[in-house]
Symmetry: C2
Subunit: 223 residues, 2 copies
């Protein structure tokens, strides 16, 4: 039986901040870029990951931690793409925390390139919990409306990247892309912004290039 | 200056359950049917209320309590329809609670027919907090996906009515209405289910009739 190195942390006790720090240090040591995906339910996080799994396959090693209140549905969708996925079922808790991620890391192999963490679908609570990620993405799907950034500012303020998802639906909606983007940038001018559709592929080349560049930068930075 | 009777509670101290009981008793005494609207961000709660305000106008007296993390945007939209609205800005809290509603009731006139309470956009946390409402509606918009009921069961379990919103978008989506309905009814077989579009008007006649019948039943029941 083959044995693989996994990401065992020294310690998963203490505050969320402390455990997130342990996770961040371990991922940095192994050169694994972790991305925390946050959004409302149904904004397209899993579909985005399915699309990325096809794009990155064969060139990069990708794994996914799935956070949900109930069911293993999202992890099953990712596994069906041939990508390792670990489900955290929170059983009612409205967000992931660093302790939950720290525990599941003991099953995650150490030779990954990208570790995506799909948070519980919730535009409010997950924003307050550092999971030790290098990058935080906030997804806003076009049917949710262009007025959302200022109504839910914390998620936009604490992220590095905004993905406007389901761009294919915009022709059928009272949605102004420029308004949503402007509002988000007023809250957080440093956001990198991408307009994507995982169904039609719009914007996915740009997002893929961004992720590959971010991985290279992450591995060479000394921060 | 005209003085109006408002809904002052005897007590807004104690547990959420106790305050919700006080609210429920006061609303029952005045014959006001309160409806708590719960959903993800951007599922169409405010647009639904705009549509209902036009339908009920002149025949019924309607008021709206708006819950949001930040901004008075939703209350402003309702006021623009000539309907009184009271904004609760939670400043970060991910749901309304009975104390917040109890406080704002002191501004709500006692001669209403319908009092709609639009909760914070969040499919998780609001489900755990009784606000003293007579009816709880869970809204699920078609772009969120037909797999959501079992992933977020508490909101469906604790509601009396399911509104499948944005039905006009279904032709553009990988969404099966029958699957969503079946899943929701497996969680809670007693749900009344409506498929509506506040934009095209689909299903709104049926919803309006349901609300008017519910008001009559509420006022004649001795529960």
């Amino acid at each position: 039986m083959e044995t693989k190195e996994v990401l065992v942390l020294r310690d998963i006790l203490g505050t969320n901040k402390k455990i997130a720090g342990e996770i961040r240090a371990k991922l940095k040591e192994k050169g694994i870029l972790a991305v925390n995906l946050m959004s409302s339910p149904g904004s397209g996080k899993t579909t985005l990951l399915e699309n990325l799994s096809i794009r990155l396959k064969g060139r990069f090693r990708m794994g996914v931690i799935e956070g949900d209140i109930e069911t293993e549905r999202d992890a099953d969708r990712i596994r069906a793409k041939g990508i390792p996925a670990w489900q955290i079922t929170t059983g009612g808790a409205c967000h992931l925390d660093a302790r939950m991620v720290g525990k599941v890391l003991a099953e995650v192999p150490a030779e990954l390139d990208f570790l995506f963490i799909e948070n519980v679908g919730n535009l409010v609570c997950p924003a307050s919990f550092d999971l030790g990620e290098a990058l935080r993405f906030i997804l806003l799907s076009s049917p949710e409306g262009d007025d959302k950034p200022k109504k839910y500012p914390e998620a936009f303020l604490s992220s590095q990247v905004l993905l406007l998802t389901k761009s294919d639906l915009i022709p059928h909606l009272p949605f102004e892309w420029e308004r949503a983007k402007k509002e988000a940038l007023e809250i957080n001018p440093r956001l990198d912004v991408f307009k994507v559709s995982a169904l039609t592929g719009e914007g996915m080349d740009e997002l893929e290039s961004f992720l590959i560049a971010a991985l290279a930068e992450f591995r060479t930075s000394h921060a």
